[in-house]
Amino acid sequence: MTTTTTKKGRFGRFGGQFVPETLMTALQELEEAYDKFKNDEEFQNELNYYLKNYVGRETPLYFAERLTAQFGGAKIYLKREDLNHTGAHKINNALGQALLAKRMGKNKIVAETGAGQHGVATATACALLGMECIVYMGAEDVKRQALNVFRMELLGTKVVGVEKGSATLKDAVNEALRHWVTNIEDTHYILGSAMGPHPFPTIVRDFQRVIGDETRKQILEVENRLPDAVVACIGGGSNSIGMFYPFVEDSDVALYGVEAAGHGIETGKHAAAINGGQTGVLHGAFMYLLQDENGFVQEAHSISAGLDYPGVGPEHCHLHDSGRATYVNITDDEALEGVKLLCKTEGILPALESAHAIAYASKLAKTMSPDEILVICLSGRGDKDVHTISSALGGDLT
């Protein structure tokens, strides 16, 4: 397969394990535990039980008729990850890893969060399974996503604001890594995207591939064929790799990853690691990275906290190099248009992250014919974003 993890956790030249020595043993343990449980029937049954009865899977693959008419091109389907419990795809991974941690005998969880969706998902899984949870969140994001901070606290999680660096997602990852290094014996780190050191990119992808697996099955049921194109937004890359992975071998299915262009790539204020970065090492992986000529990591900029990360998961970097997937970008303003469009045509308020996929699909669909099929991964719902959306549109919600 094009994307099989090689022994050292590489996807082509990307990935690896660039972490302090203190973490190497924990990563090895995690890899061994994961190898043992990923094919364990009892573990899979337990996970599937919760995915069905607790998360509410499978999620619909919804034919968006009015959006299709509005775009005037390909037939549009929405994969409704926004309908998951807690409102985004993040719960698929959080629950999977929490169950894995339990089996590893680790009852304490640390996580980072950007938009707060992964934090809420992890806090939820920990409440469900009776585990102790601490979530690091950039102080900027604590402000932008106050609702999710409150939700996490209600769920019994300790939320720690990180004032360091740019006070966003990358700094939250730094703190979560430090916390993990210091508490390695009883704590598991639930990394929230398909990034970081091996084996995280593989584990997260495997827990998210349910998105693509379901989509594949569902589209075959209703259309009796595979889609012509699939579109998903890229933060660290988890909803997108989960959607893409089951289609990677189907070369007729075009894969589009949508990066956040913020104010525009040419302004330097963006979060498009593949389209606007160079290769480098951060948070355990060799990947495309926003950095200056000195190798210092640069701040990412996006209206969407969940895309506001200077790197991108290594498997996407490889899919880009190999040409199997195409990485495009969408600005803040275009994403806001995407939000409005989906609200008005379909009655669905998308997360700002997902709105990037909507906005790109609106361009792509027009270039396709009515008998072609385009699937958009609607990774989450936008309730968490109403304050940001309101103020971006000149309103004043308080």
């Binding site: 972490v19 302090p20 203190t22 043993t25 014996e185 090492v281 990591v297």
Partner: protein, 260 residues
């Protein structure tokens, strides 16, 4: 044998313990680098670990992280540190060990960096986010310039891994004394003595203890069970406060004979 290892062995041969202070290059401005290094070598340190600031120093605790933020704010980069060191390399009599995260080296260009680092008096490298398994990207270039690649060995590592790291480490073995990040601490686990014995049984390369060592007693206690110490956060704080008395006491604690 690397020059770094040779220097440390010379120190321990006469009964002293190696003392390696960590400084953050650019903390207080790069102008401070030369006087700081010269003063430290005057106090009789064995080698000097020169920290390069990074935007995302995941292996560092608050003291060194803050020093790094100050250094970054002062415009410090890997390239500028190398240039500054080259400017007074003929006055430096102790080996320098640079500690930097990997990405600045990749951005510099591994071969270019190795060549320039050697000309700057750098004889050893510590890269905290590059475990042995990933070291092939830099090792050949460092080897070609005679720069020792120092491995960190953590308490959390398995015995098999500890043996492999200890044998692979060049210059010295950086034995991390705690599970965690850099920073001053009160107490250390009792089983450390055994741990150090095991490390020393694998190799004749000196074993130095680091992370959390902050008092003359720590220096003496670790000196009794290994070949010397690396002192980071305490030195960084003392230099920032211009407190050379504290530094002198720490260095003295590593010597059997009085400093000349």
């Amino acid at each position: 044998m690397s020059q770094l290892k040779e220097t440390i062995l010379k120190t321990t041969a006469n009964g002293d313990k190696a003392f390696v202070p960590y400084i953050m290059a650019g903390d207080g401005g790069l102008d401070k680098l030369q006087p700081t290094i010269l003063k430290l070598q005057e106090l009789g340190v064995t080698a000097i670990e020169v920290g390069i600031p990074f935007t995302d120093p995941v292996a560092d605790g608050p003291t060194i992280e803050r020093a790094g933020e100050r250094a970054l704010a002062a415009g410090t980069t890997l390239r500028k540190v190398v240039e500054t060191l080259q400017g007074f390399v003929d006055q430096v009599t102790v080996p320098l060990v640079a500690m930097t995260y990997l990405n600045p080296i990749l951005a510099y260009g591994v071969e270019d960096f190795a060549r320039d680092a050697k000309a700057a008096g750098i004889r050893g490298m510590i890269i905290p986010d590059m475990p042995l398994e990933e070291s092939e990207i830099v090792h050949p270039a460092f080897k070609a310039e005679g720069i020792a690649l120092v491995q960190l060995v953590s308490l959390a590592s398995s015995s098999e891994r500890i043996e492999r790291l200890t044998k692979a480490s060049e210059g010295f073995i950086y034995a991390v004394t705690v599970n965690g990040i850099t920073g001053a601490r009160q107490s250390f686990a009792d089983e450390l003595g055994e741990h150090f014995k095991k490390l020393q049984s694998y190799t004749d390369t000196p074993v130095l203890a680091g992370f959390g060592i902050s008092t003359p007693d720590h220096v003496r206690n670790f000196g009794a069970i290994c070949d010397g110490v690396i002192v980071g956060s305490k030195i960084v704080d003392s230099i920032a406060n211009d407190d050379w008395v504290t530094i002198e006491e720490l260095v003295k604690a590593s010597k059997v004979a009085p400093v000349k």
